[in-house]
Symmetry: C2
Subunit: 342 residues, 2 copies
DNA sequence: GACTAACCGTATAACGTTATAGAATTCGAT
DNA sequence: ATCGAATTCTATAACGTTATACGGTTAGTC
């Protein structure tokens, strides 16, 4: 049997309101009655009905995290941090996998889906800035990643251009001159691909290296298979690259596989660097040099910002945060055998 | 402004009940009024308040998936399937990361946490059979994985012993005689480790190979780092193994890294096989031979079983399902260079 | 001894929904 | 004409919670 306030009230011989006050501490309650009520609560094993509470309060205590792909370890690791923070703040976090699909992303910002949710952390990839502007969300929204810029929402994303500079400069410092980029995008979406491509070009220019469009390999998506195919393609050229800057670690790992299949050595023949610092790259053969964003920081900050807005706490106007990142050098660029530190 | 049934009723000039009937199709409504009401709904952009609906109906439409580690790709891939199925069935799935912690797992089955949830899909690792029996859940629960057996709940897990047989037999068929197992557990928990160890021993016996306790390496957890350390240990022995059956793919990948660091070749010096068939193993160097459970099947079936129980549909008594699995042979046992089929 | 203030408790009205019971209308059949 | 039945709609009472407004009692102050 499910126990409600009414049962407790009857048992303790007080009114509904008093029990509610004991439970929530909203109003002072006499010491003696508090004890009596608490005893009844313990005996009957009362737990508040969240639907009722939420109906009354107008909030659900649930926030959503909408990401393009749960099976990308980057997002899985990020989600872990977000879940921990949300739990700590007294919220439940539900994850939505949009699959990077346009319709499912629109559904996310569409308010019909939001009746159940107090706020949304959203990593858009397919949807455009204009569409976000055209569908003002009914509840607060925090954006993560580089999908959409310049909208009136909190936004958390590393400085992609700066990160790309660091990556390319690292390859340049190793005397690589034919540096490819895998993950250039054709369409208008995936801002981050544009930004990383731009950072790549700027860094090349800064190093006095020529810009060769043939070395900017497009992909349809950003998984291991995409990196593999793009790299096979690059290696089949008459002048293959001597280094690769990959859109992310998954792409980089696919690319490394292609290099190995071609019978070439990493990094002697081709050096490889990615972005994300997923755990997989710490154990791959060779281990993967990467740009490491602080995922724990991003996940927690996203939840904190969202909760602050939900609870109407004093927050600045929508702000852009650029979490820190750092270069993590490993075998795929430095070479040698560098035992994993475990 | 948030639109409720009342607003629609006023707009369309009908009663609350009629609008509700239009929305839910519970009672027949005249064609003309239906159109008028639908128009009002579209104009005002009505979406039902789920808290209110759930309060009234006594169900929340939310199911939880509690897994030990979101950053294990196996669970991430499984969760993807579960989310898809849940969405299709009209449920929202929330994920809970227990971290394999005893307290957080108990919290999951504890009913206080369940007020918000219609049912739970649970992959226990720390909690025991007795504890599950002692804390009867308030709502239906489906167990996945091998943590707990013989409890009155639906249970979905591959036949671990049979899977281990297949894995070890594969190694035997390649003329390996010193086959190690990584992932033996000391404590009473992690049934699956026991089962896989048992399958390993049975298969050895079946092949007429001796049982050497020194080759059963325990680990504290089941990640890449654990496989790495255990393998380093095994390779430092006077008689190192010529093959390794790892508790799962993550452990296998850590083990492969250790073999590479030791300057040995896979599979010539040491063959490696895992369980799970995570995508990572399809692109690793070398690619990883593994036992592939049908994750899509498991995820969907878990949700289907749970929803059937929640909705009180005719279901058999709690049943045990053993989803199919198959051996996927790759470079880590077969050797050679086998280009990834992409 | 009356007035205020503080304290503690309660009755009640929402929050938005749906199920039940029933009211109003129409239509056939007697 | 009248009754029963079918059809379409509506009023109302919950579901369990919390905020508001108010009723008592006690203590303190002039």
């Amino acid at each position: 049997m499910v126990v409600s306030l009414k049962d407790i009230a009857a048992r303790a011989g007080v009114s509904l309101s008093t029990v509610s006050n004991v439970v929530n501490g909203y109003r002072p309650v006499g010491e003696e009655t508090r004890i009596r009520v608490q005893a009844a609560i313990d005996e009957l094993g009362y737990a508040p009905n969240l639907s009722a509470r939420h109906l009354r309060l107008g909030r659900t205590g649930i926030i959503a995290l909408a990401i393009p792909e749960l099976d990308n370890p980057y997002f899985a690791e990020l989600a872990g941090a977000a879940i921990r923070e949300a739990t700590g703040q007294g919220y439940t976090l539900v994850m939505e996998d949009t699959g990077g699909s346009y319709e499912r992303e629109l559904l996310m910002i569409d308010k019909s889906r939001r009746q159940i949710v107090d706020g949304l952390i959203f990593s858009p990839v397919a949807v455009s800035r204009e569409q976000v502007l055209a569908h003002p969300p009914a509840t607060p929204m925090v954006l993560i990643g580089e999908g959409v810029y310049d909208v009136p929402h909190d936004h958390i994303a590393i400085d992609n251009i700066a990160a790309s500079h660091v990556a390319v400069q690292h390859l340049v410092s190793l005397d690589r001159y034919r540096i490819a980029f895998i993950g250039a995008q054709a369409g208008d979406h995936r801002q981050s691909a544009h930004l990383r491509l731009r950072g790549y070009r700027e860094a090349l220019a800064g190093a006095g290296l020529p810009w060769d469009p043939a070395l900017a390999a497009p992909t349809t998506a950003f998984g291991r298979a995409d990196g593999l195919m793009a790299m096979r393609d690059l290696l089949a050229r008459t002048h293959p690259p001597d280094a690769v800057f990959a859109y992310n670690d998954l792409v980089a790992i696919g690319a490394m596989r292609a290099v190995a299949e071609a019978g070439l050595r990493i990094p002697e023949d081709v050096a490889v660097i990615g972005i994300d610092d997923i755990e997989e790259g710490r154990f791959s053969n060779p281990t993967l040099t990467t740009i490491s964003p602080d995922k724990e920081h991003i996940g927690r900050l996203a939840v904190q910002s969202l909760v602050a807005r939900i609870e109407g706490r004093p927050v600045q106007p929508p702000y852009d945060v650029q979490p820190p990142f750092r270069l993590v050098t490993r075998e795929s660029t430095l070479g040698g055998l560098r035992p994993v530190r475990a």
